[in-house]
């Protein structure tokens, strides 16, 4: 794949910053983006499509008398288009209202460079290679059990690069790669269809295991066929990473955002130094974990990525800041300004939300459990109350754990509770860490969770 050179992207960014200032912007920041992705898709159980998406663009943020304007375009190899975007950004700022709390764009600070985030082999990958990956996955899923039916999924390779320049002298470039494969399947027997079960593997270097993904998807789907009803009770629950990712994203990850704290939307406001979770919980936001899915050298406004302690042995230590919220408190950004490509202004997001693993092997946690549930997939986490942390979700499905063994699955079980109470009832953390989106975590065992059976 031909991609834009580092020098070319940086030149574009720097020239546009100059141009903004010439045209009357007080401050300017230019974000140049290139994303290229090749995907092979599985539909209705077979490989049936392939696509290539090339998306480039630039987003310009300017300040005029403390009012902020932003404009973007996806036409970057044309100077008149860039001129036009600059004018639009400045006009937008002029139309907007000054923000008395605006204290300028980020200043230049030293960077620690991201490691293991780029692999040239991924860039060179052809659609044929992705077809091979997808077929391996399909074959091993169907090999598990005749009742397993793969539905959808695929394999994809992508390249992403960004350059950021601003009027405070920041000028920096980073590039990275990602390869992933995923499969969703159901198992069928007679009139019974299981909920959709899925697995995936995503890495920054060319090191994925499609056969494992297929096998694991098949295993989980097949094991969901036999079902049993359970009664309403309070019980122990093992949350796997799938469930944690959903629940954390809509509750805990918001509560540690400085923006939510400053705006009275976080239950963690005024709680720095206080106990907010069980003692076995330590969480870092670490944008520099080697090979992490969200590892980059800098964030969406050019601030260096770093490792930020959020909760240490249950004690709340810090929040996640972008440049704006940090300056409001007279401190430095934690490098958590995130962008969805060139189309948006930065917003605070976790990078790699790292729950430090425990020492208990996953098997041991199950074998020591007398009565409880293990949860993979959840539905409805997005309907949680983001301010209070209250959730009411359904497990699709859950599996019963009885006398040290995983037993029947159970459908339609609802879990209700409050994330911030739940954090205090974590009794064990396993040692089976994996990366899933922003989350890097192991299974966690929580005591006394309310489940509503049927």
């Amino acid at each position: 794949m031909a991609v834009l050179e580092k020098s070319e992207m940086m030149r574009l960014a720097e020239a546009a910053v100059e141009n903004c200032l010439k045209k009357g912007a007080g401050e300017a920041e230019v974000y140049v983006y290139e994303g290229q992705a090749t995907n092979v898709g599985i539909e209705l159980g077979q490989i049936s499509k392939s696509n290539r998406i090339i998306d480039k663009g630039l987003g310009i943020r300017v300040a005029v008398n403390k009012a902020i304007g932003f404009a973007y375009t996806n036409i970057i190899e044309d100077e008149s288009a860039t001129e036009d975007v600059i004018s639009r950004a400045i006009n937008a700022a002029k139309a907007s209202k000054p923000d008395p709390d605006w204290r300028g764009l980020p200043e230049k600070r030293p960077y620690i460079f991201a490691e293991k985030t780029y692999d040239n082999r991924i860039l060179e990958l052809r659609a044929e290679d992705l077809v091979d990956i997808a077929s391996q996955m399909l074959d091993s899923a169907s090999g598990v059990n005749k009742r397993v039916f793969p539905i959808e999924g695929g394999a994809g390779a992508s390249y992403l690069s960004t350059a950021i320049a601003n009027s405070n002298g920041i000028s920096i470039f980073d590039k990275g790669t990602m390869i992933e494969c995923s499969l969703a399947a159901v198992a069928k027997e007679g009139n019974t269809v299981t909920p959709v079960c899925f697995e995936f593997n995503a890495e920054r270097n060319y090191n994925i295991d499609p056969a494992w993904v297929g096998k694991e998807t098949g295993r989980i789907a097949a094991s969901a066929l036999k079902t049993k009803r359970i009664e309403t009770k309070n019980t122990k629950i093992i949350f796997t990473q799938f469930a944690l990712q959903e629940l954390f994203y809509y509750t805990l990850m918001n509560a540690v955002k400085a923006d939510d704290v400053q705006r009275n939307q976080s239950p963690f406001k005024d709680k720095i130094g206080e106990k907010v979770a069980a003692e076995n919980i330590t969480i870092y936001d670490d944008g520099l974990i080697p090979g992490g899915l969200r590892t980059w050298t800098f964030d969406g406004e050019g601030s260096p990525h770093q490792k930020t302690p959020l909760i240490e042995r249950g004690i709340l230590r810090n929040f996640l800041y972008d440049n704006y919220t940090a300056k409001k408190e007279g401190r430095e950004s934690t490098g958590n300004a995130s962008r969805s490509g060139y189309l948006s202004t930065p917003e605070i997001e976790a990078t790699n939300f790292h729950v430090i693993p425990g020492t208990a092997p996953a098997d041991q946690i199950i074998s020591e459990m007398d009565d409880g549930l293990i949860i993979y997939y959840l539905q409805g986490a997005h309907s949680s109350n983001p301010v209070s942390g209250e959730f009411s979700v359904v497990a699709t499905p859950a599996w019963e754990v009885r006398k040290g063994e995983i037993g029947h699955s159970t459908r339609g079980v609802m879990l209700a509770g409050n994330m911030f109470e739940l954090l205090k009832n974590v009794s064990m953390i396993a040692d089976n860490e994996r990366k899933m989106g922003q989350l890097v975590s192991s299974w966690i065992l929580v005591e006394n969770v309310r489940v509503i059976g049927k």
């Binding site: 049936s48 950004a89 937008a92 009275n264 309907s383 301010v387 509503i452």
Partner: protein, 461 residues
Amino acid sequence: MRDLLNHIIEAAVTKFGAEYAETRAQTLYKTMLTLKEGRVEAAKQGIENGVAIRVLVNGSWGFASVGSLNPEVLMNAASDACKMAKTASSRQKTPIKLAEIKAVEDSVCLRPEKNPHEIQVQDKIKTALAINKTTLSYDKRVRSCTIDYLDLTGNSHLLTSEGTAIDQDKLYVWSRITASAKSKGTSTFSREEIGSTQGYELFDKQTPEKIGTAVAKRAVEQLEAKSPRGGASAVVLGPEVVGVFVHEAFGHLAEADLALSGGVLASTLGKKVASEVVTFYDDGTINGAFGSFKYDDEGVQTQRTLLIKDGVVTGLMHNRETAKKLNTAPTGNARAEDFRVEPIIRMRNTYMSPRDHSFEELIESVKLGYYFKSFRGGQANLDGTFQVGIQEAYEIVDGEIGEPVRNASICGNTLETLFKVDAVGKDFELSSGRCGKGQTAFIGDGGPHIKLKEVTVGGSA
């Protein structure tokens, strides 16, 4: 541009071996605002230009998207798409075929009363500030207010190797308002979403005062609310909750791609899956509704599709591929978010038809239960498991609406639950929303008030 795209399509068919080729060239303009407690985070404006090229080669799809109108870039993309389709077809058992449609040449021009593209950013900020002011001044316990605003205008130009040539304007105005309130250690959260394909006149109906009051009032009311009892209960659902139930719990299962993937509606055509008071439509023809348009992204004219009539499944939502597979006609449900992605089966405005009960009759018929008025999100699974989170709820005691209840949710199996609909109201309301299925689609959903004999309510008490 049309000549250039025709040339690309011709090359895909004659040089690169495509059985079918289409190009979708789009120019999109967006204005976005985010306000937090009246602070304008940034006024944002964007332009996007790009072409999607989709081809069918040896029964497999190839797709390429580029942000360019450069002839050479487009020709490479077409060649790429065909090559990739060929590669994908190497392991394919059942080649994809498309249902036949009549080629259409048409031009769809929208003439909004108030074109958002022509309204000054200052005026849009003024509207958002008015919503903010109403929300925050409603009660001093309202602590925060976030307003997101988006308008999207532009044009989509579809050409196919079968002779379809459709030039269609696009217009969407959307806003989401959230507020939180806090008192004595209790925190609440409230959300409203509005949208239209008509124009900026949306705010003449959904005035800043009306929408700001609604969002603030709900946040404050919940402060005094209690948790629901978990377990089975009789419930009355408001039009907004009925809408999300129809969309999430049933609608997704009636998308033919998901039905064919092993969903529970796969072999239910002509079968009774609901009580006889249940009739569902997916309708792209409602003027101004958020999920309406004239042609889908495969060039099929939109329609009003009957999904369930008096409890019996009458149809699914199709694109050309699934229609061919199930030997029926496409329903105009193939939609792509933009030129970066392929069209997939999406809903339009999905709703339940009203019947004959008054709201009072529905409430009176419940001895002990809940009235669920407004939702906070919903989700469904192919096996029919659904969950809908509720952001505004009340107890019903002895046939009367009682105290407010917070953070409830309902869950169950769609097909079991549809049989439990035992009374349907005569009112009707349609709401606007966005639906995620890998891509975002603007949709509408709604219906009348209804009563469910029994559903599982999730609650912590």
